[in-house]
């Protein structure tokens, strides 16, 4: 049965009105709870909204800080809506989009979403915490040495290279572009370290065909956003980043990270999210002026460029050639704050803030006339995406 046309009830009804982030680093002294509270507090001040007005909370299921703890520390009022989104890096746009749905449907008026993480200590790596025996999907990969997220994505990368002729030069294009963007962003953790193509090619392997520079950073830090109605946002301190369209994506037969068992493992969650998002939007991929694409690993950029419709299948690699994803002259500047590979890796939530900053006009790699700004979350896991717009 054909699906009903999307009605887009939340289209342009809400906006991100406040942005907050802590410093990023390794081994920050503050606790994760303190970092979360600081980021939320900064975001509320940025919007010009009192904490007592907060009545909605969206968080990652992987977030270590509970709603009750953040609410009583920052001083929220009666919270009447709270929800969580799963799948780690897939949740970034999910929490913001769900907050938008809650505001648009009247379940709350001022919603906050955040991600706080202390990851830089080796002990926090989930894969290093070996369980006694494996009884979930990991039993089909880990006994064979496919242990870390990088191993899981490297397997899909090798297959992609085989099927479509992708090369390490394409991956280098991505790592180098994001490092260039980070160099303009004083808040980034890697901007001080330039990267040449030779640096990339000579970097040590982590899981062939992926090297060190194909991996995201390990970062401590927290970021938060405030979501309110579009009407309210127009009266607040900052230019609204309107939430034009939002979708989540979980495709048929998907297995998270080790998605090796479907007919077409390279057609990932991005495709499911993209289909719905574009149906809900008044714009198309060719209208997007700047994109923040989830980059736990560089090959996810290629898969996302294809999944979200910026190019055909197999063309995501060549799309990165000739500075096409670099600010300021690229056809589609991508990850303009440096992203997870060169700014900070906070489960992709920094991408959400940068997507909103592009609409505000306050990015350190500001794209001229950025009126449509795409943010995507983890590819390789059930995901989510948001289109921000400047005008409604």
């Amino acid at each position: 049965m054909p699906r009903q046309p999307a009605t887009g009830l939340i289209k342009n009804q809400t906006a991100v009105a406040g942005l907050g982030q802590t410093t990023f680093g390794k081994g920050l002294p503050d606790t994760e709870l303190s970092l979360a509270c600081q980021a939320v507090s900064i975001a509320l001040d940025d919007a010009g909204i009192e904490p007592s007005e907060v009545d909605g909370i969206a968080s990652y299921t992987m977030e270590p800080n509970r709603e009750v703890d953040v609410a009583r520390n920052v001083g929220f009022g009666d919270v009447t809506w709270f929800a969580q989104v799963g799948f780690g890096g897939g949740a970034g746009c999910g929490v913001v989009g769900q907050a938008a749905m809650a505001v648009a449907t009247g379940q709350c008026s001022v919603a906050v979403a955040w991600r706080a993480r202390k990851r830089a200590s080796a002990a926090s790596r989930p894969w290093a915490q070996a369980a006694a025996r494996l009884s979930d999907s990991q039993q089909w990969s880990r006994p064979f040495g496919v242990i870390r997220p990088v191993d899981e994505i490297a397997m899909l990368t090798r297959r992609y290279m085989h099927e479509y002729g992708g090369t390490r030069d394409h991956l280098a294009n991505i790592a180098i572009a994001f490092r260039k963007h980070a160099a303009r962003n004083p808040g980034s953790t890697m901007g001080h370290k330039p990267m040449t193509r030779a640096d990339y090619m000579n970097a040590r392997w982590i899981s062939e065909p992926l090297c060190l520079f194909d991996n995201c950073l390990e970062t401590d830090g927290a970021l938060a956003v405030v979501v309110v109605s579009a009407e309210r946002a127009r009266d607040l301190k900052q230019p609204p980043a309107y939430i034009h369209a939002f979708a989540q994506g979980l495709p048929p037969q998907h297995q998270t990270m080790t998605n090796y068992f479907t007919d077409d493992p390279l057609r990932g969650p991005a495709w499911a999210a993209a289909k719905r998002m574009w149906e809900l939007a008044d714009v198309t991929a060719s209208d997007v002026k700047v994109a923040q694409l989830y980059d736990a690993f560089s090959p996810l950029i290629i898969l996302s460029l294809e999944g979200y419709g910026f190019c055909d299948r197999g063309e995501g690699g060549p799309f990165t050639d000739d500075g096409n994803i670099e600010w300021p002259n690229g056809r589609l500047p991508v990850n303009t704050s440096g992203g997870g590979m060169s700014e900070a890796y906070v489960h992709g939530f920094n991408l959400v803030l940068e997507g909103a900053r592009q609409i505000r006009g306050t990015s350190t790699a500001q794209v001229e006339g950025a009126d449509v700004s795409l943010v995507t979350s983890g590819e390789g896991v059930p995901t989510s995406a948001i289109l921000f717009t400047k005008d409604v």
């Binding site: 089909w140 990969s141 064979f144 040495g145 899909l156 062939e208 090796y260």
Partner: protein, 144 residues
């Protein structure tokens, strides 16, 4: 003996038949007992017909390399000791939609770092062998 290797829970009700098959030297695939569709990994319901009835069917144990990686440290100690090693995905000749993660080895009891990774190619034919570690039998693959 504790090896520090990551191993399956042999009591997992969804998969114990598979691991028991490996212990007997058989590579089994879960099939829907109602419509016959094969599925991997094992799970409780057939997505084709929604039956929960399952049976386990033998395979030829032959397939082709679908992809491969070469992990390097940092890794868990037992794996770091043999790194860099290869991990592969094999698609079965019986049904290329059925895939297994494994390792390409020179012989059943060889280490997972014995094959020069530069010689591994996608599409090359392999056949299953069985490797015993602690109380588990893992399927591994040799060149066919």
């Amino acid at each position: 003996m504790e090896t520090g290797w990551l191993l399956p829970d042999l009591e997992d009700p969804e998969s114990n038949e598979f691991w028991a098959g490996c212990a007997r030297g058989e590579l089994l695939v879960q099939a829907c007992a109602a419509c016959g569709a094969w599925r991997m990994p094992p799970r409780p319901m057939c997505a084709v017909c929604r039956s929960t009835a399952v049976r386990w069917e033998p395979t030829t144990g032959r397939g082709r390399v679908w992809s491969f990686i070469v992990p390097h440290p940092p890794l868990l100690p037992a794996f770091a000791e043999v790194a860099p090693y290869n991990s592969i995905i094999v698609e079965l000749d019986d049904d290329p939609g059925i895939r297994f993660v494994g390792n390409l080895v020179a012989s059943a009891h060889g280490a997972i770092n014995e094959i020069d990774p530069a010689t591994i190619t996608i599409g090359e034919p392999v056949r299953v062998v069985f490797h015993h570690i602690e109380d588990v039998t893992l399927p591994r693959w040799v060149r066919a």
